[in-house]
Amino acid sequence: MTGLADRLRDLEEAVGPSNLLTATEAVSQYRLDGQQPLAIATPGTPEEVGAVLRRAADSGLSVLLRGAGRHLHIGAPPGPIGLIVSLARLSRILDFDHENLTITAQAGATLASLQQAAAQRTQMLPLDQPGGDDATIGGIAATNLSGPLRSRYGPPRDLIIGLRVALSDGAVVKMGGKTVKNVAGYELTKLFVGSWGTLGALCEVTVRLTPLPEMKAMLAAALPAERAREAARELLSSRLEVACLTICDTLALGRMRLHLPITADAGTQVLLAGLMGDRAAVERQAADLKRMLPTAALLTGEPSDAAWRAIRECAYPRDAADVVARAGVPLAESAQLLQLAARLQGWWALAQVGDGIVHIGASSGASPDAIVAGLRELRRAAEAVGGYAVIESAPVDLKRSLGVWSASANTDLMRRLKDSYDPRGTLGCGRYLPGL
């Protein structure tokens, strides 16, 4: 292996001197869990990304991919980071085909810029992961994180139908395309979306669009836990088209700083039913919901938008010490996890009951022992019903002792895939499941 200076010169050649950051001071701002990268590369084309990855692989540097850095808190504490490859310069919209209901953009384009483009044709990307619209489309694709819109529109993995990916051997390959139906070859798009930057760098992403709804509203009701659960079950099996169905406790309500025109006493839960569509449909559903839940308040206009935003952002960590976990369970089990949070005391919980995704977090001031015990219990409860718990945000020693990801089946096959697409283990710096 050649010396560090040679390796860096080699990388500089690939992206140009102005796009390789090596000054210690500048690089130190990219420290992650105590690891400091040697350099930051900012390639300008997918081919340059490929060239950087290949050179990094050739010289044995490990690579962490980065978009806007909105979700870098999620993941195991990394091993040594050789190089951070930022996709921020790849920020162009390549093709907005409104009649085809698709948009193709480079990885570094922010969700905000894409939403803005789509809105000009009264369309939208039904993506709303925690972390706001500054997140990049590449980051959303790599993490497959979702928000309240998921119950209606599905996760990013369902909405992303095409990719161009730079592999660590330098090849830039196409997967999928811009048609919803496409069975020409294997569904590699599904494999690469949600692979957390461990298989390749997603350089271009094609997303399905949907018409911007004429109206949005939010119905909020404070209910005893049992009644909230029943109401959710009823709504899920009804033919109403509730776009988001959330149950949270009063601590989560406080965390969201959401002031609702309802009285939520301690011990009650708050059911939030989001409606979207044409005015007639929203009004009819709101009326049905009011009949079902007479104490509910209907929010429209800005208060409704504020509620949608608050639900979306509830799980986003407030700072590096904020402890937040995400559990996935069968739909009907999400209520159980809310109960668990109540029993643990001092934990807030917010459940997307239409998807079986529950976020739980420790209130500030909780003792380290209580946090460890709580996370252990959460993981045990989720795994007992066939689910999992991911510790999305926590102090690094806690992540290290508990493990960020739940154990997964079939990791041998996943490792073989990893070895096949990234044979020298260049990508990911050990932040995803062991070996990936």
Binding site: G177, G185, A281, G328, P330, D355
Partner: protein
């Protein structure tokens, strides 16, 4: 076709009998011949056809294949239209028709656990009694099986709004080509790790045999309405689709039939469609009653503005069924028009439909072939059914040449070779139109991880690596 002996070696036969029982093995040449083809042009005769009754039996069969280096091909109803279930290199056909039970319908969790041999429509009928549905409903649903739907990543008319099969499957039990049984995914969203369920769906039996699946269900829509509009030109029908989408509506289905297809349908299943028009557009809207009336009227208005000769709205179930009848019988009816039909289902971005249709009409003229066109206009999925006579070699050549040109046109328009039928055996030779050698290499990596011996449905999906393909030419 290489010559091969149809006498199955006795040791193999004994082993098969031991695994599935004597009654569930076919080896007589007249019997296995029935499994040597499908509605594509591909042929290949298996050594034996076996009918396992459990995941364990499938695992034993596949393990036997692995030990003996024998190819195997899983088979559902064989309706894929691309040669996907034809045993090109002989070996074992693993027919999954005995694995035909719905194991569980879990209403609170909106999931069902089923075996692969369950027929799609039978399953839908059963779910209907729970007020639920499984969204994928390919036109073949009367006969096609859920296992086949998964192997092909089946589409159907409702994909614009509801997506394709891969969007509705949570978990799979599969026998890997090594004979090992694995469970992938579960009833839970986003299990950490790579999406192996997604990777297996649409893999056409080339990565293993799916023996059980966990499917995501949805409540049935509250109501539906159909708008049926008759147009003087194909362009006008396409323009109507564009305007409906631009107006912010997302119909459950948008289907167009051309003149040839209308004629075929009326000849076989008369439903009163006029024969002197160029296109019929069927729009299905579903959802809440309150929005449907307005949307149906809006769609009808768009069609009238584009000088539709007539516009009908079907509001009751009976009216809707009647309006759907013509569309649903299109494929069968077209097949009656000529001794044979070369089917393709290239798909293009919806925006490109008018341009692509013009080019296909030109191909039709230039090659002197008849092409009946029926398409899922909402998702750009075009079925250009080329009519030919199998006994006339020139006719077949013309049909093949036209097919190749249609693929070229669709790929140039930013589309893909196949939207729902699969690559199977027929489209392998066209994959290079769509993918670079590096793209194909990335796909081959997936295949090699699951099936290093190359025994699972060999000869499908991927062309031989570049060097080998050159050698064949």
């Amino acid at each position: 076709m290489p010559q091969r002996s149809f006498i199955v070696d006795k040791k193999l036969l004994r082993a098969l009998h031991k695994i599935v029982g004597r009654d569930n093995v076919l080896t007589e040449s007249a019997d296995v011949l029935l499994y040597s083809y499908d509605s594509s042009t591909a042929v290949g005769t298996p050594e034996a056809v076996v009918f396992p009754g459990s995941t364990e039996e499938v695992a034993k069969l596949v393990k036997l294949c692995a030990q003996r280096g024998l190819p195997f091909v899983p088979r559902g109803a064989g309706t894929n239209l691309s040669g996907g279930s034809v045993p090109l290199r002989g070996g074992l056909v693993i027919a999954l028709s005995r694995l035909n039970r719905v194991l569980e319908v879990d209403k609170p969790n909106q999931v069902a656990v089923v075996q692969p041999g369950v027929v799609n429509l039978d399953f839908q009928k059963m779910l209907g009694s729970y007020g639920l549905q499984f969204c994928p409903d390919p036109a073949s649903q009367k006969v096609s099986t859920l296992g086949g739907n998964i192997a092909e990543n089946a589409g159907g008319p409702h994909c614009l709004k509801y997506g394709v099969t891969v969007n509705h499957v949570l978990g799979l039990t599969a026998v890997l080509p090594s004979g090992e049984v694995r469970r992938f995914g579960s009833a839970v969203a986003d299990t950490p790790g790579y999406d192996l369920v997604g990777a297996l769906i649409g893999s056409e039996g080339t990565l293993g045999v799916v023996t059980e699946m966990v499917l995501k269900l949805r409540p049935l829509p509250e109501d539906a309405q159909i708008v049926l509009a008759v147009f003087e030109t194909l362009e006008a029908s396409g323009e109507a689709v564009s305007r409906i989408i631009s107006a912010g509506m997302l119909p459950a289905a948008l289907e167009i039939m051309d003149r040839q297809t209308i004629a075929a349908v009326e000849a076989s299943f008369p439903s009163g469609l006029p024969l002197d028009v160029e296109a019929v557009l069927l729009i299905e809207l579903d959802g809440l009653k309150e929005s449907l009336d307005r949307q149906a009227e809006q769609c009808a208005q768009i069609c009238r503005e584009l000088k539709a000769r007539s516009v009908q709205i079907g509001r009751t179930q009976a009216e809707r069924d009647k309006l759907w009848t013509a569309r649903k019988s299109a494929f069968g009816a077209t097949a009656r028009l000529s001794p044979a039909m070369l089917v393709n289902d290239a798909t293009v971005p919806r925006t490109k439909l008018p341009e692509v249709l013009r080019k296909i009409q030109e191909i039709e003229r230039r090659h002197g072939v008849r092409i009946a066109k029926v398409f899922h206009a909402g998702d750009g999925n075009l079925h250009s059914n080329i009519l030919y006579d199998r006994n006339d070699p020139h006719d077949f050549e013309r049909a093949e040449a036209a097919t190749a040109e249609i693929f070229q046109v669709c790929v140039e328009a930013g589309g893909t070779l196949t939207g729902e039928h699969g690559v199977g055996a027929e489209k392998v030779k066209f994959m290079h139109l769509l993918y670079s050698p590096a793209d194909l290499e990335a796909q081959r990596k997936l295949k090699l991880v699951f099936d290093p011996q190359g025994l699972a449905n060999p000869g499908k999906i991927l062309p031989e690596p570049v060097g080998a393909a050159e050698a064949i030419r």
